[in-house]
Structure formats: structure tokens, C-alpha cells
Amino acid sequence: MKKKKEMKRREFIATTGMAVGAALVTSSIGPFVHTTMAKGKTLRICSYGGSYQESQRKAFFEPFADKFGVKIIETSGPDIAKIKAQVDNNAYEWDLADLETRHVARGELENLLEPLDTNVVDLSGIDKKALRKAAVGNIFWTTSLAYNKEALKGRKPASSWADFWDVKNFPGPRALQDQAPFNLEYALIADGVPMDKLYPLDLDRAFKKMGEIREHITVWWKNGAQQIQLLTSAEVNYSSAWNGRVNVAQTKGVPLEIVWEGGCVDLDWWCIPRGNPNKDLAMKFIDFALSAERQGEQMAKYIAYGPTNLGAFKYISDERAKQLPSYPENLKKQFAHNADYWGAKLAEVTERWKLWMIS
């Protein structure tokens, strides 16, 4: 009798288990392969996630979806390698991507990006620095010297890259990004090269100057979280950092400061993989997102980057504008990241950089 009862119970558990399992598998998750996208009414956008993508969501994606009745599918982690895979195989995962300059430069060299149709996209108000054949800049962002006020314990903070190199008067652990771009420019600036004469880079001089500081760099940071964490936890006194993240930390009460002097102003770009059948809708979106009003809203309310549409400043308060990289006062003190130089030279300079790092 007991055996029968136990058998029944066991079978019951087994069948319920399978039923629950089947329900879970079929219900919550969805298709295992790509579902065919309804062209013209869906837009797949790939950006950087986190608070940046959230600012885009609030300022662009949701208003665009509402106004034009389009469904926007977001994803993150854009890179040119995936775009190459998509273009080479005519299998598109993204209709629109937000790319870094180095990826845009490479993409243009390998003809992976769709040129913009100026009939659809109004580029009239856009800053010249943000115009390229197959991409248009959507934000100005800066990488510059940053520090934690409290970590300095009352000492005078460094106010230039020359100060950063001066370990005697501005002591303490330091951090820099583990890559050649930006750092080599900082080294040249610290060595006295005027900002408008940086490119093409005198590599020997730059590496020599880097050699002076190398042993004083405690951390070579690899990603965005690290740089802010290092400053926030006072693990280092000084580091190069992205102004947007510094600003976000500031809003959370962390006493960080950024130095505009000698900063490298760079852009992010809207790009369309070449040959994407959905490109018309993508361009319509770009046109929408570049408008002064939309950019103004993004920068004023959501994230501290600089608009590429100069008319956007109309919508941004003066106090807020001072925090942005493309505010004229700030812009004067910075140099522009040269995409064409790095597009051509990244491979060989990176190899030289890596070899130098392990020597």
C-alpha cells in the first residue's frame, strides 16, 4: 500500500515538474531564432547601455516611437566588427548603431557604413567637426584629467597634464587608460607641444615622455567602470576620465572634479550598416535625433555631453551648459581627437604601445 502511494506521489511530482518546466520554456522567453522583422515599422538600434542609452531613450527613442508609430528595439554593445559581419553576410542585426570614432574610421576605410542622404537628414545646424561621409556625430564627449577633491587632502590639485607628469609637486597614485590614443597626445601636451600642432604625432617624443611617468602609474584602467571606481574609492589621486561618467558620479555626491584644460574632445556617431534595407527609417530617425530641440533635451536633462547641433544650446540653461564639453569656454581649452590620423595609424601604434608596456 505504501509503495503504491509513493509511486503515485512520485509520478505526480514528475508530471508537475515537467509541466512547470514546459510552461517556463514556452511562455516567458520567446523565439530561439531571429523572427522576421517588419520593415519600415521597426527600428533596431545599438548603443552603449547604462545611463547614456537611457538618456537616448528618453530624449529620442520614446518620442520618435510615439510620433511615428515605430517600434524601437534596443540593444547594446556596438562595435565595427559586428557591423562587418553583418554587411559581409547581408544579415543585418542593427539598423542604426552609435559608434566610437575609431570604429567609424575603420568602418569608412573598409566601406562598411551607409553614406547619409542629405535629403532626408538635415545637417544644416550641425557643427562641422561632426560631419563625415557615412556618419554624423551625435555628442561631444571629453576625456580629461580628473581627481577626487577629498583624496587630495587639501593639497593643490593638478590643473594640466604638465602637472600630472610632475610627480614631485603633485604626488600620489595615478591612473591612465591602457591604450595609445589620448595618452600619447597628453604626453606631448605635457612636453610642451601646442594643442593645434599635435597631429601627426611625434611618436618617439610621445613615448619618451610616457616613459617618465610609466612607473608612477599604479593602474592602467581598461573600462569605464574602473576609472570612476578608482577615483571614487580614492585608490588613485588622478586619472584620465570621461566627463559624462564624472558628471554622473558628481550627481551622486562623489566629490570628483574634471579639468577641461588639455582635454581631448571626441565624438560619438550615428551610423548605418551599409546596404541595410531599413536605412530610410534609420535616416529619418537620425534627422529626428539631431534636431536642436531633441539634443537640447538630452543634454539639459539627462546626460552631460555636448550637443552637435549648435542650436541646441538655446534649450540648455547657462549653468548646465558650463558642464558640457562643447560649451565654447570649455571647448577652447581642449584639442580634438583626430579620427583620420588614428584610423590610419591605430594598428601599428597599438602594437608599439603594447610592446612598450611589457618592456
Binding site: D79, A81, D178, T218, W220, K222, S233, A234, K354
Partner: protein, 292 residues
């Protein structure tokens, strides 16, 4: 006893049995062929055709001092990581084998749970623990053991801590598995014959557990050759791994043919090591199957 063994009709039934068993293995073989051999093959092809047949990427790899030096660093770090994992993992396996069931389950659970913390989060925990004003340094300085914080992060120490932490389960399980196959009465016999504990261990238990050590060390060494995330986050400027360079070629530089060539070279290195292992310890002893 022989009446319990089903009677065979000679060769026919044996052949049928062999076929049946082969068919059992077939699905796995097909899966591997489709989903493993073909993708790897495409990398081979990509490394040699750019777009026409060329060996230039291989030649470039060996001519440029960066790549050979980074390969060397990769091997060094892998050897070090394997050794530290062994030093910590072997005693753990030894104790696991002899512990009471409840203690053993508890330890096992800790090992399995350490598995499920994502790699990335794990590394950030270690950063919290090892950094200049991290947990360990705070303890050491407040207790007065050291005057200045120790540098345990962004150098080899950090990398070893991070990698060992990840590798311990992979090294403990093979050793433990082999140890469970060792009859403990052998040890008892040895001690009855007058051997000391150390002698028993060194001349009986340890040699018998060698297949497990070999298997675990092989697995961990090969895993660490391909590592780049942990060394990147926890290491310093000198801890550069080859996989990192491959990733840069793939993602930033779009030089997939060169990346493929580097991958093939990396694979060749692991194959050579595996061949050495096979020669001296034998593949069939991987993870058990100790015959006395």
C-alpha cells in the same frame, strides 16, 4: 556466476552489440562535427586566405617581437597559475576525500557556489578586497601588521589570486575523482608494515593520485592560456595575454585573418602541450579510470 551472464550467439550478437554502442556515440560525434569542427575549420581557412593563399600572417606573428613575447608571458602566467591552483587544490581534494559526509557536502557546496558567481563580478570582488584601501589592507594596517598598504592588485599577485580562485573547482574535481578510486586499505597496509605517515603519503597515495593531478593541471593550464579578462582587470602593465591581442585584432582592427592565424597558433600550442601529456600520462586516465 556464469549463469547470470546472458548467453551469446557468438559473433553475430557481439557485432550487433558493438553497432548499438557505436550508434550511441554517433549523435555526440555528429554534434561535434557540425558545431565544432566546421567552425574551427573556417578559422583555419580564414587564416590562410586573405583573400588568396598566403602565409603572411603566420610569418608576421613570428617576426614581430610583440607577439612572441606576449606568447611567452602568457605561458609563464599559465604555468604560475597552474602551480598555485595545484598547491591549494591538492590539499583540498585530499581533505575532501577523507572528510565526513556532512563536511564534504559543505565544502563541495562552497566550491559549486563559487562557480556561479559571474566571472566579472568575481573580479570586482577581488578588486574590493585587494586594492590599496581594500579589505585586506584595511585589516593589516589597523592591526598594525604593516605600516603601508601592500600592493596586491594590478600585478602578478592580483592575477594569481583571481585566476586561482576560478581554477580551484577545475583542479579539485579530477584529483578528488581519482582519489576516490584509490583503495585506502593500501595506506593502512603500508602503515602496518611500519611506514610513517609521510612515507605512506609520498610513496603510496601521491603517486596513485598523479593521473588526477595531471588531468587537472592540464585542464587548468589550457584554460589559462586562453584567459584575458582576469589578467586585464587584476594585472598590471606587464601581464598581457595573447587572447587580449586577438580580441583587439578582431574588434578594433577588423584584421580577422591575422586574428585567425593567432588563434591557430594558440591552438597549436595547446595541442603540443596536450600531446606531451598524452605521451607521459595517457588520455584515458583523464578524470578517473585508475587501474591497479
Amino acid at each position: 556466476m556464469s549463469t547470470l551472464i546472458p548467453k551469446t550467439n557468438g559473433k553475430n550478437q557481439q557485432q550487433r552489440a558493438a553497432l548499438r554502442q557505436f550508434l550511441l556515440v554517433l549523435p555526440a560525434l555528429i554534434a561535434l562535427l557540425l558545431f565544432f569542427v566546421i567552425p574551427i575549420g573556417s578559422i583555419f581557412v580564414k587564416s590562410l586566405f586573405d583573400p588568396d593563399l598566403t602565409f603572411k600572417h603566420y610569418i608576421y606573428f613570428f617576426q614581430n617581437p610583440l607577439y612572441t613575447r606576449v606568447l611567452w608571458i602568457t605561458l609563464q602566467i599559465s604555468v604560475l597559475a597552474t602551480l598555485t591552483s595545484l598547491i591549494i587544490g591538492y590539499p583540498l581534494a585530499y581533505v575532501l576525500r577523507r572528510a565526513k559526509p556532512t563536511v564534504r557536502s559543505g565544502f563541495m557546496m562552497c566550491i559549486v557556489l563559487s562557480f556561479i558567481i559571474s566571472l566579472l563580478v568575481r573580479n570586482y570582488s577581488w578588486i574590493m578586497v585587494l586594492q590599496r584601501n581594500g579589505v585586506v589592507n584595511m585589516l593589516l594596517t589597523t592591526l598594525g601588521i604593516v605600516e603601508f598598504p601592500l600592493k596586491m592588485l594590478h600585478n602578478k599577485i592580483g592575477v594569481m589570486v583571481g585566476m586561482t580562485h576560478i581554477f580551484i573547482p577545475y583542479i579539485v574535481f579530477p584529483i578528488y575523482s581519482v582519489m576516490t578510486g584509490i583503495d585506502l586499505s593500501l595506506e593502512k597496509a603500508a602503515q602496518n608494515l611500519g611506514a610513517s605517515r609521510w612515507q605512506t603519503f609520498w610513496r603510496i597515495s601521491f603517486p596513485l593520485s598523479l593521473p588526477g593531478i595531471g588531468a587537472g593541471a592540464l585542464l587548468v593550464f589550457i584554460m589559462s592560456i586562453g584567459f584575458f579578462i582576469t589578467p586585464a582587470l587584476l594585472g598590471g602593465r606587464k601581464e598581457q595575454m595573447l587572447s587580449n591581442l586577438i580580441q583587439i585584432q578582431v574588434v578594433d582592427l577588423l584584421n580577422w585573418s591575422f586574428a585567425s592565424a593567432m588563434s591557430v597558433i594558440l591552438l597549436a600550442v595547446t595541442l603540443i602541450i596536450f600531446a606531451f601529456y598524452n605521451r607521459y600520462l595517457g588520455v584515458e586516465r583523464l578524470w578517473g579510470g585508475v587501474k591497479l
